[in-house]
Structures are given as C-alpha cells and as structure tokens.
C-alpha cells in the first residue's frame, strides 16, 4: 500500500490535483496540434487554418486502419491483446505518415503557388482547404461502416476503445487512466525530440534561420523550399500523432472535432507566442489547465469564455504572446 492514501489529504486538495491531471493531459493534446500551427507560421507566416481539420482527417484515417484489420464496433471486445497492440502500433505508424503526406500535398498544390502572392490570399485559401477537409471528413465517415451497417455521415461516432480506461490511482482517490498515461508517454518524448531536432540538427538550424530571415537564409545557401516542405511534413505528422491520441482517449470522432480542437490549439499557439515552439507547448498546457479549473470551480458553460478572457488579457500586456520575442507583420 502506498503511504499517501485517499483519506490522508483533504477532498479539496484531491479535487485540485484531479483538475490538474485533467487539464495537463488535454493540454498536451492541444500542444501537439498547436505545434503544427506555430511551426508553419514561424516559417512562412501563414496561419494554416486547415491544420485542425487535417487533425480530424487523421482521426478518420486511424479508424480506417482499424477497420481494415477488422477492429470495429463489437469486434473489439472479443479481440486478443496482441490484436489490440497491433492496432495501436499500426495507427501510430501510419497516421503520421498519412497526415504528413496530406499536409505536404496541400502545401504543394495550394500554398506553394501562392508563396509570392499577398499573405491574405494564402490565408483565405487555408480557410477554403479547411472547408474541403470538413466535407471530405463527412464522406469518409460514411464510408467506414459500423459492423457492416452504414452510419450517418454527419453524426459523431464512437472510436473503438483499444486502450482501457482502467484507473491507476484508485488508492489515492484520483483518476489517472491508461489513456492519460498514453498521452504523457507519447507526447512528452515527441516534444523533447522536437526541441532537440530544431536545436541541434542541420535541418532544424535551417528552419530556425528561415524563420528569422528567409532572405538571409537563402543567401547562406539554405534551400528554403526544402525547409518549408519539411515543416509541413513534420507539422502534419504531429497532427497525425495527435489524431491517434485523441481518438484513443476521447474515443469519439466526427467531422467537427478539427474545428473545436483546432481553435483551442490555435489559441494555444497565439498565447505562447505564435512561431515559438516552446510557447505552443506552454500555451497548450495553460489552456488545458484553465479549462479544467474553470470546469471545476466556475462551471463548464464559462470555461471557454475564461480561456479567451485570459488570451485577451495576455495579448493586451504581451502582444507577442508569452514567449514570443519579436513581432513581425501579422495577418
């Protein structure tokens, strides 16, 4: 038995710790999506509004992977552990590849020809891509059948709960499940890896140089197009990872999840200072926390308002965000 038991600390403290767990886990997910926004903005100053919807398509891709190997609806309950592990591993391998490739393709087909056009042209195109993705999401939803039955294209649907919501901290009177553990175990190494990548690798240095001054970077012999491509692929892959985590933990997907979560992630990126990678992570965690504490102490109907109130306050006093250093021309 652990020394610190549920009875040994007050219910108020217990709730507080629980809200922190809830907030930080969902915050990590927002951070993962926010990275895609912030990296693309850092390099080409484009707010890629389609990013949230790319995340949504990732969810459907993950579901397709599962349906291909026969893990849908009722089949999950009867499946062995090996099959479940296979499903999870396949999703984590294939979805980032899909999302990275999709993001690359969008850049190639839509944003690249607009690189020298006024910034607003690319921005409006991004909104258009977001709508296209949402429609694709609806069609995709209808294509994946549930135990052979057709489903409503527009309604949310249940994602197979491959990871059980078994509580690990029952002794402490807290709720921290395998699903929460999954978020932490996948997200933290990715963030550390990304930081190392951007700081120490050649490509990472090239990315930072391009972000600082594209013209000077080109003069130094950096292939800017390659850097931009890499940014889109990496940002997309991160969204793909986020899709799988989201699908496995929230276990409900639909064509609108990209909009909701994308909005929070975008807010996280702005809060932390758009273009700044640690800022996006900080922003994501902060938003998750504010939401959970708001749900707990104020009332769920006010949580969103609270998040945006804090965003406004921070932007009033630090217009470039928490960790944003230099303010460049924003769209």
């Amino acid at each position: 038995m652990p020394p610190l038991l549920a009875e040994s600390f007050s219910p108020e403290l217990q709730s507080l710790v629980q809200y922190f767990i809830n907030g930080l886990t969902i915050g990590m997910l927002y951070a993962l999506i926010a990275l895609g926004y912030t990296m693309v903005y850092g390099i080409i100053e484009l707010i890629n509004f389609a990013h949230g919807d790319l995340f949504m398509l990732g969810c459907f891709f993950a579901m397709t992977v599962l349906s291909v190997i026969g893990l849908t609806g009722g089949a999950v309950a009867g499946a062995g552990t090996g099959m479940l592990v296979l499903g999870v591993v396949l999703m984590f391998l294939l979805t980032p590849i899909f999302a990275g490739a999709a993001n690359w393709a969008v850049d190639r087909v839509i944003y690249k020809p607009l690189r020298d056009a006024p910034k607003l042209a690319a921005l409006v195109s991004a909104i258009g891509v977001s709508f296209i993705f949402m429609n694709i999401g609806q069609f995709w939803n209808a294509l994946i059948r549930e135990d052979g039955k057709p489903v409503q294209a527009a309604s949310d649907r249940s994602f197979p709960g491959l990871v059980a919501p078994t509580n690990l901290l029952t002794d402490y009177g807290l709720q921290f499940t395998y699903r929460d553990l999954l978020i932490v175990v996948v997200t933290v190494p990715i963030m550390i890896g990304l930081t190392i990548f951007v700081k120490y690798t050649r490509l990472g240095r090239a990315m930072r140089a391009t972000a600082q001054n594209p013209t000077a970077a080109r003069l130094m012999g950096i292939d800017i197009d390659r850097v931009i491509r890499a940014t889109f692929v990496i940002g997309g892959a991160l969204a793909g990872v986020a899709s799988v985590i989201y699908a496995l933990t929230i276990t409900r997907i639909g064509y609108t999840v990209g909009f909701q979560n994308g909005l929070y992630a975008f807010t996280a990126a702005v809060l932390g200072g758009i273009g700044n990678i640690p800022g996006a992570v900080l922003g994501g965690l902060l938003i998750g926390l504010v939401r959970a504490l708001g749900d707990g102490y104020v009332g769920s109907e006010w949580s969103s308002a609270l998040v945006f109130l804090i965003l406004i306050l921070i932007l009033v006093f630090r217009p470039s965000g928490l960790l944003g250093v230099h303010t460049r021309e924003k769209v």
């Binding site: 989201y246 276990t251 909701q260 749900d295």
Partner: protein, 408 residues
C-alpha cells in the same frame, strides 16, 4: 423539379429585394399549393430529419399530391449549415421569409428544434401561415405560464395562434421521466443539461418534479457540449454517487459523450442514465458506442409510442414505411407523417387557397384519426395526446420498449 422550385424561390426573393412585385398575394398558379418543411438537413440531426421528410412524403404520396382541385408541391428546406452542423437562426429566418414571400406556400412543417421555432414563429405569425412542428417540444412555445416570462405571447406578435405541434410538449416528458425514475427506486439524482432551450427546459421540469417526489437532487449543471470531454464535471459527479443521472439534451449536444464519460469514471453499474426524446435515434448509439450500452443502463423517454408499438393506422404507416424505404422508421418518422396529414386535412377543410382559412381549419381539427390514435388540437395548438413511452437501450444498442408513461 425541386431545384426549380428552390430557384424560383431564390429569384422571387431577389426580385422582392429589387422592389418588384413578387409579394402579391395571388401569384403563381392558383391551383398549386406548396407545403414547405424547414428542418436541419445537414449536420448531425440529418438522420432524424431524413426520416421525418420520408414520413411527410409518404403522407403526400398517399394523397397522390392532390387535395380536391389543388396540386400539392413539397419543398424541403434546410435550416442548418454544414459549418455549424446544426440549425442556425440565419437559415431559419431565411426559410421563414422565403415561405412568407412565396404566395403559393400554405403550410410550414417544422422546425425540428424549439430554439429555431422561437426564431421563425414571429415571422410566420404575422403572415397567418400555419406551422406544424413534428418535433419542437419546448412548452413555452404554446403554453401560457409553462415557459419563460412573456411566452408564448412574444412568439405571436399578431396575437393569434399559428403554431401547432403533433408531438406532446416537454411539460409532460420531464415530469414523466421523474415519475419513472421514482418507480425504478431511484433516490439520488444528478441533473445535467446542454444549456439550450430544449435541454435546459426539460431538465428544469425534471428537477421540479423530482423535488416534488422527494428525490434528492444532488446537482443541476450545464455542460459545454462543444468541448471534447466533460471529464472534470463527471469526475465530480462520480464522487456524489447518484442513482440516476438525467441529461437534458440531444445526441447532437453531448449525450453520447455523457455515456462515455460515465463508463470511463466507473459509474456504469452504479448509476443509471436517463435521456429525453432528443436522444431517441441511432446517432446517439453510434456516437456513444454500442459496447457501452451493455455496461451502462440507459433509459430514454419519448412522446408517443415507438413506431413498432403503434396499432391501427399507425401500424399501417409502419408497414408502408418499411416497405417503401426498406429501413426501420426512426422515432420521429411518424410525426413527419402526421404533420403531412394535418397539412392536407387543413387544406381539404378550408377548400380554398387562403392562408388564414387554412390556419383556422387546422386549429379546428378535433378527433383527428391519425397514426397515433384519435387526437385533437387544443386552443394553444397542442396535441391532446399525453401518452409517452419509456424505453431501455439494450446491449446491442437497440431501444426496447419498456412501458407507456401516463400522467397520474
């Protein structure tokens, strides 16, 4: 055909904006009467509204799209947008205005949502246009003293009744739900709602009745259904260990997630869930995950009887529907059918193409021999039907009829 009508509507609206005379009362073909419906045709309520529109079409087809000398046309309008995934007040307003300005429109079937009804009622009221809702159940739309202050008068700027509904209002459903909970032996309830007109309204009615019945109400809170999860709230509820959680909302406003969260925090087996008719559809089960209904006892209340429990004309409807569309009718199909029948009956009784006459004819319907038995409209435009039913969702995700619920 449909595209043409829509186009002509659009052209008409455009011409009207230019100041030319599309607004003349006797435009179009004097022998053509249009019935429009305004329902959320995109977004997650599509499953329910498909079935309603199928029901309406079935009613019109039975009459061969004719009443006396009049040719009937049907126009299926959408009050939702793909972006919102649900009804919007802009679309509902536009639909209502389109109906008012088209002189051939004599009946307006819809809307689906009570919130949308509050938007279109004042517009259509001034035009004497008959509204027949197959689904909007907020009591304040029709019943004095049962809704917010100022209701229902504020929905009727012209001072007369033009809104009718063929579905029993929530002032029955909420309390009957509480009665049923008491019968199940529930002692402690926790009530959540989605903060919308329908969900919050029905949750309040449930709460009031629960208090009367001396059930212990542990809490009454809103959830923000646009969030991906309600984990914090549900964690707090789990500590209170209620016997039953009542959620006032629909399958579009968070009900599936409530099921998931209850299972996640380990409430399944300890706490039952009860939801109102807004969740009486497939989308609720697909969203929540069939497997969860094997763990969590879930009860649904619904106005009237499920289609497969209907007898007489209702049974005929059920068989015809299944034969024609080759699928089980969803819960509201029969109300769509009944609304279509009422529109036809009103036109037949009025026997002329005149909005006020058709409205008066509809309101005077008594002892209507419909698919749900014999019923009448009362002075508020409400159906006299009071039978509700309680169903339990089984482990395969299929609602199984448990018992009829009637007011004691």
């Amino acid at each position: 055909m449909r595209l043409q009508s829509i186009l002509s509507g659009v052209v008409c609206v455009a011409l009207f904006a230019l100041g030319s005379g599309c607004n003349k009362p006797a435009g179009g073909d004097p022998k053509t009467i249009k019935i429009v419906s305004s329902l959320p045709r995109t977004g997650s309520a599509k499953g329910q509204t498909d079935t309603i529109v199928n029901g309406i079409k079935l009613a019109l087809e039975e009459a061969d799209y004719k009443v006396g000398d009049f040719k009937i046309e049907f126009l299926d309008l959408d009050d939702a947008t793909a972006i919102d995934g649900k009804w919007t007040s802009e679309r509902e307003t536009a639909n209502a205005e389109q109906a008012v300005k088209d002189p051939d429109v004599m009946a307006y079937i819809g809307p689906y949502n009570s919130g949308a009804a509050a938007v279109s009622m004042p517009i259509l009221n001034k035009a004497d246009l008959l509204m027949i809702s197959p689904a909007a159940t907020w009591p304040g739309l029709t019943k004095p003293g049962k809704g917010a202050p100022g209701e229902p008068e504020k929905h009727r700027p012209a001072g007369k009744v033009n809104f009718t509904r063929v579905v029993p209002a929530d002032d029955l459903q909420g309390p009957l739900g509480a009665d049923w909970a008491k019968e199940m032996g529930v002692k402690k309830v926790y009530i959540l709602h989605d903060n919308e007109v329908y969900g919050k309204g029905i949750a309040e009615l449930f709460r009031d009745r629960a208090k009367e019945l001396k059930l212990q109400v542990l809490g009454f809170d809103a959830v923000d259904y646009k969030q991906s999860d309600f984990r914090t709230k549900m964690g707090d509820i789990a500590k209170e260990a209620p016997d039953l959680l009542y959620f006032g909302g629909t399958s579009q406003s968070g009900a599936p997630q409530i099921v998931k969260e209850m299972v996640n925090v380990g409430l399944a087996g300890k706490t039952k869930l009860m939801v109102p008719d807004g969740c009486f559809e497939d989308a609720f089960v697909t969203g929540a995950g069939v497997e969860n209904f094997g763990k969590l006892e879930t009860f649904v209340t619904f106005g009237g009887l499920p289609s497969n429990q209907l007898t007489g004309k209702g049974k005929e409807f059920y068989d015809k529907y299944k034969a024609k569309y080759n699928i089980e009718p969803e819960a509201y199909a029969v109300y769509g059918y009944e609304a279509g029948k009422v529109a036809l009956k009103a036109i037949e009784k009025a026997a002329r193409k005149d909005r006020a006459a058709i409205l008066a004819a509809a309101l005077s319907i008594r002892d209507f021999d419909g698919a749900m038995g014999k019923w009448s409209f009362d002075e508020n435009g409400d159906t006299s039907l009071t039978t509700m039913s309680g169903s339990k969702i089984d482990a395969r995700g299929v609602p199984q009829f448990v018992k009829p619920l009637t007011l004691k």
